[in-house]
Symmetry: C2
Subunit: 258 residues, 2 copies
């Protein structure tokens, strides 16, 4: 299959660099086609602004959302944005690899999401009616594709456990996995997380890559996280709250997993 | 008091611009001293890289964390980073104002956090021992200061309610409020959130600014979110999991609020 790796780390000679190289080689050895968007190496433009819609009317105030829609629809987006959208169309599976910085992604990767996820491409897709609130959360331009996070953290696994101080890793990653991946249609596979990355020796790296290799071997078959689809009966529309009878008594992120 | 507003929106002629102007005028009228870090207007450099430690040894691989520590300790950080740290030292209260993009902050603000929060300034502070895991989560360089988010969302309030599809707003903001603000020591006030921002008419703006004004008038007196402090007995160290007897049976973000 076609695998796109969106990779955000400033230093090739690093644990992240080694894991990225392992991933590319492992996937290619298995016969997959691989492209890498190495955001630091590409000097990816991180901040969305008026230059992203170069043919907009400069006498009007820049509007991040509406200008992205017009540029997307008219085929006049900044070429770097269009190229990344094309890679997404090409891909069957997208791997997002990054170190967890301040419980989120590095700015350069957030800027990839902010810019590549144009209005009309990743949101604002599909009809809005009393029964269908846009093609999102399980439907959308990227439906039929799979996505997986490969994340490294300095913190220990226990710090991200159910009662760990940083919050459970599934909750920390929910805004990304549910909000950035499931939203435009991806099936989201459970993440691959490497903890305590300041203490990785050869044996630990060996264990880590064996586990990662197994995840790469099963990209096509691993069951996705069963997030509830927005337009398939679990939510009242337009309130978009879980209906009575669905996950009764449950609140919070976990209620949105079937 | 001294109030720093860290502001991330590309367009002054916008709801965010109007709310920012209101905030500055309201605080100044009450006699406060106000500085604004308008990240788009400053053309803030968003991506952490080797240029942030201009006197580092270029023959060594760049290491985002260690190089930031060395530059911070030796007073050789990039001047834009040092200036923002100085503003933080000056401030009694910091307001972070931004539109919620993809359930997180705009990349330019994430890049402010990634770069300004140097090792030795916002993390890696204080002793690490069997009873004290660094000065963080309630202690640290920014302790004694208050922070508050002012956030706008396109989505409706119900979409961010306890059973809303986006997840509860308190959980969506937890990685920011707990992970980026409480972590280096801020007392975090409840956020001010303006929902459904595509439909703001004059009357709605009037209601919104009346509520925001009340929050600004009570910055010094509003009770902070009672996040549990790391080194004060609620957590096992070094596992950093809640002790037996603390929030028994509870898991997830809410367990870290006393």
């Amino acid at each position: 299959m076609n695998v796109l790796i969106v990779y955000a780390h400033p230093q090739p000679r690093s644990l992240n660099g080694a894991l990225r190289d392992f991933t590319v080689q492992h996937l290619q050895a298995a016969g997959h086609h691989v492209q890498v968007s190495d955001l630091y190496a590409m000097q990816w433009k991180t901040t969305i602004d008026e230059h992203d819609a170069p043919q907009r009317d400069p006498s009007e105030p820049f509007h991040a959302s509406l200008d992205s829609m017009k540029a997307y629809q008219s085929g006049t987006q900044s070429p770097d944005i269009a190229r990344e959208q094309e890679k997404l169309r090409w891909a069957d599976t997208v791997i997002f690899q990054f170190p967890l910085w301040w419980f989120s992604m590095p700015a350069i990767l957030k800027g990839w999401v902010d810019r590549v996820y144009a209005y009309g491409f990743a949101y604002g897709v599909g009809e809005h009616s009393d029964t269908h609130w846009g093609d999102r959360y399980g439907e959308g331009s990227l439906s039929g594709k799979r996505a997986m996070l490969v994340v490294t953290t300095g913190g220990w696994e226990s710090h991200y456990s159910a009662r760990g101080i940083n919050g459970p890793i599934d909750d920390v990653l929910f805004p990304i996995q549910h909000g950035m991946l499931f939203y435009p249609g991806f099936d989201v596979l459970p993440p691959f997380v490497a903890y305590r990355t300041s203490r990785v020796d050869g044996a630990t790296f060996e264990t880590m890559t064996r586990a990662l290799g197994a995840r790469l071997d099963s990209l096509a078959t691993t069951a996705p996280i069963p997030y509830r689809r927005q337009n398939h009966g679990d939510y009242d529309i337009p309130a978009l709250t879980l209906k009575n009878g669905i996950a009764d008594g449950k609140t919070g992120f976990a209620a949105h997993i079937a």
